[in-house]
C-alpha cells in the first residue's frame, strides 16, 4: 500500500503553485511604491494571469536553442509593459519606488523597468511552463482557472424594506442554511453551478424579498396561497426554471435573438447549448426550450412594465401560461401601444398647411410622381359625368387661385406676419394586415381561447356544454369513443382522421407541403370555400363540423410612416371594412387622437362601408382615407369614390398636406410627397 502514488491536490490545483499571500505582499512592498492602490496591484496581477500566450512567447526567448540568442527581456514583455502603462495612465508612477528615480527615465527605459518587474512577478507566481532546470513541461502551462473565480450568491437587490409604514427597516435573512436552495446561475455566457439563492424578510410587514420579486400577504389557515407577487422591473437576476437563474445580459440576449433572428425558443436553446454550454465544464444540464420561453416572458414583462411605469402584481404560484395571460391583461392595453401614439417625428408628422403652395390646373385624379406630362385616364362607368365636372371645377379653382395670388403680389402692403400658418401637426398612419393567427373556440362566433390546445376545439364554457356531444354541427347525440362523433357520423370523423392525421400520406405528410393553389387528381377535393381576403365573413362558408379549431384570420397593424406601431389587433374571419372601422374606432376613440390621413390598401372599400353605416359622418370631420398610389392608378379609372377621395398625392395641389414644394440645388421648384410612405425598394426572389 505504501508504494501507491499519492496525489497531493493543493499544489497541482492551485494556479499559483501554492504561493502564499505573504510572499506576494512582500513582493509588492519591495518592488512597487508604498502608496500603490489595491486596484493597481490587482490590474498587474490579472494582466499576468490573463496573458499566458504572450508570456509563453517571452519565456521561450529566455530558453534559447543552441543557435539562438538569449534574451532576458524580450520585446514581447516590453510590449505588455507598454499596454499596462497605457491602461494605468497616471497610476503607472505607483509601480516605481522612490529609489527607481522614474522621472529621470525616458519612455523606453520606463517600459524596460516595468518589464523587469513583470518578469519578476511572473517568476514569483511560477506560471512559466519551464521548471527550475529549464525543462519544458506541458503540464505546467496553466491558464487562469475556475478556482480563482469569485463565489456568487443570488440575493434581494433592495437594501431595506420598501413598505412605507415600515420606514425602511432592515431585512433579515429568511432562509436557514440547511434550506438554502442551490441553483445554476447563467451570467452572460458563463454557467456557475451551486449558487446559493437567498431571500430576505421584513420583520414588521412580513414581506419576503427575492432577487426578482417580492411577495406579501398571508397563506390562510386552509392552506390557500393568498400571497401576491410583485415583479421587480430592475431585478438583476431572473428565475427561469426550478433551479435556474439568469442575469439580465442573458435574458436581453434571448429577447434580441428572437427579435432580430426570428428565433423560436427551441432554436435559441439549441444555439445557446451548442455555443456556450458545450464549451465549458459544468455540472448543470443543457438549457431547455421551456427555460428560454420562461426567460422571454420574464424579460419582456419587465421591459414593457418598466417603460409603462408599472409594477406587475400577480397571485403567487401560478403557472407560466397564466403569468403570460395576466401580463397581457395588465399591460397589453388591447393591442394599443401608447408610447407610439404620443410620438411625433419629422417622418410621421408635418406642420399643417391651410393652402397649397400652388394650385395647378391638373386633373384632381392626377398623382404626383406618375402623371406629370401625362393624360389621366378618364373614368368609365358610374360617376363618369361627376368626374368630368370635378376636373372642370378644379381647373376653375386653379385659375381663381392664380388670379388671387397675382393680386396679392400687386398689393405691396400685405402684412406677411398675418398670413402665418397655425402650427398644428398633420399625422398620417398606415394600416395593413398579415394573414396569421392563433386558434380559437370552434363554436359559432365564439373567439375565446381553446381550453385544451392539444386536440381540444372548444373554450372552457363550450367544453362543458358541447364537449361530450358529437362534433358535427347541428347534431345533439353524444360522442362514441374513441372518435369524436356519434355512431351515425363516425365515417366523417374517420375520413377526417385519415386525411389530416399524423399517420396520413404514409407518414410523410410533414415532409411534403402542398400548395393551396395546386389541384392534382390524387389530392383530396377541397370541400371548404376559401375566405376572400377582403370580404365580410358569410355564414354559408361555415363548416358543418367542429373537428378542428378555427384560426383568427389576420393581424392588422396601424403604424406611422417612420415605422412606430400605434396598435395591432386580431381580426377573426376576414380583413373586412367593418372590422377595420371598428378597430380604428377602438384605437382612436376621440376626435383629437385621430390621424389626418389613414392609408389603407382598401381605403375606398372602407370609405364606402363608412358612408353606408354612418361612421363617415364622424370620421369626415378629422380624417381622410387614402390608398397607395399603385391601387389608385388602377382603380381611379373605374371607381368614382376612389377617384374623388382616395388620391394619395394629388398633383394639382388640392391636398397641401400630402404634397409639399421643395427647391433643388438650382433653386427650381419641384413637388415632393410630404409623407415618405415608400420606404424602400426590395427585390423579391421567388
Amino acid at each position: 500500500m505504501g508504494l501507491l502514488p499519492i496525489v497531493s491536490a493543493a499544489p497541482l490545483d492551485d494556479p499559483f503553485s501554492g504561493i502564499t499571500f505573504r510572499a506576494f505582499s512582500e513582493f509588492v512592498e519591495q518592488h512597487f511604491s508604498s502608496r500603490i492602490s489595491l486596484s493597481t496591484v490587482l490590474v498587474v496581477l490579472f494582466t499576468i494571469t490573463n496573458n499566458s500566450d504572450l508570456l509563453n512567447l517571452h519565456v521561450r526567448q529566455q530558453h534559447p536553442l543552441p543557435d539562438e540568442r538569449l534574451q532576458l527581456l524580450s520585446g514581447w514583455l516590453k510590449a505588455l509593459a507598454r499596454v499596462l502603462d497605457e491602461k494605468l495612465g497616471q497610476d503607472t508612477g505607483k509601480l516605481f519606488q522612490t529609489s527607481d528615480n522614474v522621472s529621470g527615465l525616458d519612455n523606453d527605459q520606463k517600459n524596460s523597468a516595468i518589464a523587469i518587474k513583470l518578469d519578476a512577478l511572473y517568476k514569483l507566481l511560477d506560471l512559466s511552463p519551464y521548471n527550475e532546470e529549464g525543462v519544458f513541461l506541458q503540464s505546467r502551462a496553466k491558464q487562469a482557472r475556475k478556482e480563482i473565480e469569485p463565489a456568487y450568491v443570488v440575493c434581494p437587490t433592495s437594501m431595506q424594506c420598501q413598505t412605507q409604514s415600515c420606514n425602511g427597516r432592515s431585512l433579515h435573512i429568511n432562509t436557514r442554511h440547511r434550506d438554502t436552495p442551490r441553483a445554476t446561475l447563467i451570467k452572460g455566457s458563463k454557467v456557475y453551478d451551486e449558487v446559493h439563492v437567498l431571500s430576505g424578510k421584513c420583520s414588521r410587514c412580513k414581506t419576503i424579498y427575492y432577487a426578482d420579486h417580492e411577495s406579501s400577504g398571508q397563506i390562510d389557515d386552509s392552506g390557500v396561497d393568498g400571497t401576491t407577487k410583485f415583479y421587480l422591473n430592475n431585478a438583476k437576476y431572473l428565475k427561469v426554471g426550478q433551479s435556474l437563474w439568469v442575469d439580465r445580459v442573458f435574458s436581453g440576449g434571448v429577447m434580441n435573438g428572437i427579435y432580430h433572428f426570428h428565433a423560436s425558443a427551441s432554436a435559441f436553446a439549441e444555439f445557446w447549448n451548442d455555443t456556450f454550454w458545450s464549451s465549458q465544464k459544468t455540472q448543470s444540464r443543457k438549457i431547455s426550450r421551456r427555460q428560454i420561453w420562461h426567460t422571454f416572458i420574464q424579460e419582456s414583462m419587465r421591459t414593457v412594465a418598466k417603460s409603462s411605469g408599472v409594477t406587475l402584481e400577480m397571485q403567487n404560484g401560478i403557472p407560466i401560461a397564466e403569468v403570460t395571460k395576466q401580463a397581457f391583461i395588465q399591460l397589453g392595453e388591447n393591442g394599443v401601444i401608447r408610447s407610439a401614439q404620443n410620438h411625433s417625428c419629422s417622418e410621421c408628422t408635418h406642420e399643417y398647411k391651410e393652402t397649397a403652395d400652388r394650385i395647378t390646373g391638373d386633373d384632381p385624379a392626377a398623382v404626383l410622381g406618375v402623371d406629370e406630362n401625362h393624360q389621366v385616364p378618364v373614368l368609365v362607368g358610374e360617376g363618369a359625368e361627376l368626374a368630368v365636372q370635378d376636373a372642370a371645377r378644379a381647373r376653375l379653382n386653379a385659375r381663381l387661385a392664380a388670379q388671387a395670388r397675382s393680386n396679392a403680389d400687386d398689393a405691396m402692403d400685405v402684412d406677411e406676419s398675418s398670413s402665418t400658418e397655425e402650427v398644428c401637426p398633420v399625422k398620417m398612419v398606415v394600416m395593413d394586415g398579415v394573414v396569421m393567427g392563433p386558434t380559437h373556440c370552434a363554436f359559432d362566433d365564439c373567439i375565446e381561447e381553446v381550453k385544451n390546445s392539444r386536440g381540444g376545439v372548444f373554450c372552457a364554457r363550450h367544453e362543458i356544454t358541447h364537449g361530450n356531444l358529437c362534433r358535427m354541427r347541428d347534431c345533439d347525440r353524444p360522442k362514441v369513443p374513441p372518435g369524436h362523433t356519434c355512431a351515425i357520423h363516425q365515417n366523417r370523423w374517420y375520413q377526417h382522421a385519415i386525411r389530416y392525421g399524423r399517420q396520413s400520406m404514409l407518414g410523410i405528410r410533414r415532409l411534403i407541403r402542398h400548395s393551396d393553389e395546386e389541384r392534382l387528381d390524387w389530392l383530396p377535393q377541397r370541400n371548404r370555400q376559401v375566405q376572400p381576403h377582403d370580404d365580410d365573413a358569410h355564414s354559408q362558408n361555415r363548416k358543418d363540423n367542429y373537428f378542428v379549431p378555427p384560426r383568427f384570420y389576420c393581424v392588422e397593424t396601424i403604424c406611422a410612416p417612420c415605422g412606430a406601431v400605434h396598435a395591432w389587433a386580431l381580426f377573426d374571419k376576414a380583413e373586412s371594412p367593418t372590422n377595420i372601422l371598428n378597430f380604428l374606432e377602438a384605437v382612436y376613440p376621440t376626435s383629437d387622437m385621430r390621424p389626418d390621413y389613414v392609408c389603407i390598401d382598401k381605403a375606398c372599400m372602407v370609405l364606402r362601408t363608412a358612408i353606408s353605416n354612418g361612421a363617415w359622418n364622424v370620421w369626415k370631420e378629422t380624417t381622410r382615407f387614402i390608398v397607395d398610389s399603385y391601387h389608385y392608378i388602377n382603380h381611379r379609372a373605374n371607381d368614382y369614390l376612389c377617384r374623388k377621395w382616395c388620391n394619395p398625392a394629388p398633383l394639382n395641389g388640392s391636398a397641401p398636406n400630402l404634397v409639399v414644394v421643395e427647391h433643388d440645388i438650382n433653386g427650381n421648384e419641384h413637388y415632393k410627397r410630404a409623407f415618405n410612405t415608400q420606404v424602400g425598394l426590395i427585390i423579391c426572389l421567388k
Binding site: 414593457v304 403570460t324 399591460l331 408610447s339
Partner: protein, 78 residues
Amino acid sequence: MTCLIKMCIIQACEQLNAWLGGFQTMLNRMTVYNFKWFLHAMLFIHTQRVIKRQRMKEESIEDDENDEEGINIDEEEE
C-alpha cells in the same frame, strides 16, 4: 422551379408586416394569450427602438448643424 424577379415598392407598414411574417411559424403554434403577449411585446420593443433611432437621427442632424456653425466661428476668428 420558376425564378421570378418581382420588384415592388413596399410601404412602411408592409415592411413591418414582412418582419412580423418571420414569426408566423412560431406564432401559429401558440395559444391565444401566448400569441397576444408575444406579438404585443415584440411590437412594443420594436416601436421603442424605432422611436429611439428616430430621435438619434434627429439629434445627429442637429449636431451636424451645430458643428458647421462652430467651424464658421473658428474661421472667422482666424
